[in-house]
């Protein structure tokens, strides 16, 4: 009996969330459209949902949008993949070996504190204005948060957990695999999440500053034409990117961290 009641409660809570979520979303659209149509402000300033919709239909139908999306996606994916591939191992090394920490800590702290946008002109000088330059910007944007959270995770591994391996005579390598890695995993995930957000910012800023393709370019191009509907469209597509990636990560988290009670509530 109790189980059944709990199940229905959980189900209705999900429905409730969806219901009000949709209401909030639709509500904003309706207010946006009506205030614009009523002429409370100039339509060219914020555009309207219906105009954005029409722009989306045209640009997706005639194929002019697709190359921008694939370009941005591929710059994003490449830069982010490299950031993970370098950042996670480096973070693990820094966290595990004191001397590697000393070696890199100051450097990383300095570079991390530098706003990435400030580096873009330099990157253009070195890597040009093409695909590679964007990958470098994305990489730099995501890299530091991945490294920093990973080594923070390693260095906060509970001493009482490390004692268990030592107590039973396990090797340092075994402790790394069975204790350090799993207890660092949540940190790596949150570093990944922060890194994803920054990488997205990296793509947009790099493409807005200099590019001939990509969503950021699309936004800045139509900005100069005062085509706010298309500017909004570009922004919305970036927003959808962010949400989809974030949700994907959340699913990953649940899948791999069955042992964390806070994820099951």
């Amino acid at each position: 009996m109790l189980g059944v009641r709990n199940a229905t409660l959980a189900l209705s809570r999900v429905n409730e969330r969806l219901f009000f979520g949709v209401i909030g979303f639709v509500g904003v659209l309706v207010v946006w459209e009506t205030t614009a149509q009523l002429g409370l402000y100039r339509k060219s300033l914020l555009s309207t949902p219906s105009a954005i919709w029409r722009a989306a239909l045209t640009d997706f139908a005639n194929g002019s949008m697709a190359p921008h999306i694939t370009t941005s996606l591929s710059e994003f994916a490449a830069g982010f993949a490299i950031a993970m591939a370098v950042g996670i191992p480096l973070g693990l090394l820094i966290g595990s070996f004191r001397r590697v920490d000393y070696l890199f800590n100051g450097l990383l702290a300095g570079l991390n504190a530098t706003p990435n946008v400030a580096l873009i002109p330099l990157i253009i000088l070195v890597a040009g204005i093409g695909y590679e330059a964007k990958v470098v910007v994305v990489f730099l944007s995501a890299f530091f948060s991945v490294v920093v959270t990973t080594f923070t995770g390693v260095s906060t591994t509970a001493a009482r957990h490390l004692d268990i391996t030592r107590s039973f005579g396990g090797s340092r390598w075994l402790a790394f695999r069975t204790v350090v890695l799993p207890s660092t995993f949540p940190f790596i995930l949150s570093g990944t999440r922060i890194g994803l957000g920054r990488a997205l910012v990296g793509v947009v800023s790099a493409e807005i500053i200099s590019a001939n393709q990509g969503l950021g370019f699309y936004i800045s191009l139509y900005g100069t034409f005062l085509d706010t509907a298309r500017v909004m469209l570009g922004i919305i597509i970036f927003g959808v990117f962010g949400v989809v990636i974030g949700e994907g990560l959340r699913i990953l988290e649940r899948r791999f961290e069955v042992w964390r009670p806070d994820l099951h509530r």
Binding site: R160, H161, I164, G169, G170, P182, S183, R260, P261
Partner: protein, 270 residues
């Protein structure tokens, strides 16, 4: 400081400690602090011995020295050699299970540390999970277990490596009173079944008397042994035994020993 493993046949001591000393230097004042002062202790094979004393008497430190987690500054410890595996295994104070492992993986972990393959370690863990009364919980995660059940898993992990001596560091300290009593009785049942030598650290007099063949009483500042009392109560013991006058006499005797040490405990530290 050395930890030796006795090799000569016919050795009947599971553990024998001579002059074990632990000194710290206070970083601020530079004063020497004696956590343990020349501790001698012999534990025969199969015995259940408790180290009893107030906090700060070094009883847990001694246990960690035996286990190899801490290096003593002086002294010698001999452990009975076993054919394979570890000589000693620790049951930790807070259950210290890995939250990312299920019960069976936690119990198997000591074997994995000894180089046993994960698959074999799992299958060897199963009988110990049953022995401690966790049958049916092998695939649960620590957060799904009560405090008492976590301590059972903690105990099973130490039992599974099949060591000559079991080191138990106040394993029931964080449990509520009823669960603790139940776990004491359970421990005696398991001890009888597993035929282990046990060195049990506690600050609870009744717990020490109920479980042990011998209670070694310690005092603080410096941490040292002040008495070694044989508990001649019949076995098997049940919880009702705690109501008998003999039991109360042992409790009173030990309480008197500890109470004598109290003034020094409340005196200001030099």
């Amino acid at each position: 400081m050395t930890i030796d493993v006795a090799r000569e046949p016919g050795q009947h001591m599971a553990l024998s400690a001579r002059g074990v000393q632990m000194e710290y230097r206070d970083r601020q004042t530079g004063h020497r602090l004696l956590a343990l002062e020349r501790v001698d202790l012999d534990i025969p094979d199969g015995a259940f011995v408790s180290l009893l004393g107030p906090s700060g008497c070094g009883k847990s430190t001694f246990l960690k020295i035996v286990n190899g987690l801490i290096l003593a500054t002086a002294g010698e410890i001999k452990l009975h050699r076993v054919a394979k595996g570890r000589e000693d295994a620790m049951v930790f104070q807070d259950a210290a299970l890995f939250p990312w492992y299920s019960v069976v993986d936690n119990v198997a972990y000591g074997l994995v540390c000894a180089g046993v393959s994960r698959k074999e370690a799992r299958s060897r863990a199963v009988p110990y999970i049953d022995l401690v009364g966790l049958k049916g919980f092998a695939d649960k995660y620590p957060y799904q277990l009560s405090g008492g059940m976590q301590q059972r898993a903690n105990l099973a992990r130490a039992l599974a490596v099949d060591s000559a001596i079991l080191l138990m560091d106040e394993p029931f300290a964080s449990l509520d009173a009823q669960t603790r009593e139940l776990m004491q009785a359970e421990l005696l049942r398991i001890w009888t079944a597993a035929r282990k030598t046990v060195l049990f650290v506690t600050h609870q007099i009744d717990e020490a008397v109920f479980l042990s063949d011998r209670v070694v009483v310690m005092a603080a500042r410096p941490g040292r042994v002040i008495a070694d009392i044989a508990i001649d109560l019949p076995r098997p013991r049940s919880l009702e035994m705690k109501q008998t006058p003999e039991f109360a006499r042992y409790e009173a005797q030990i309480w008197k020993l500890i109470a004598h040490q109290q003034p020094s405990d409340t005196a200001p530290v030099p």
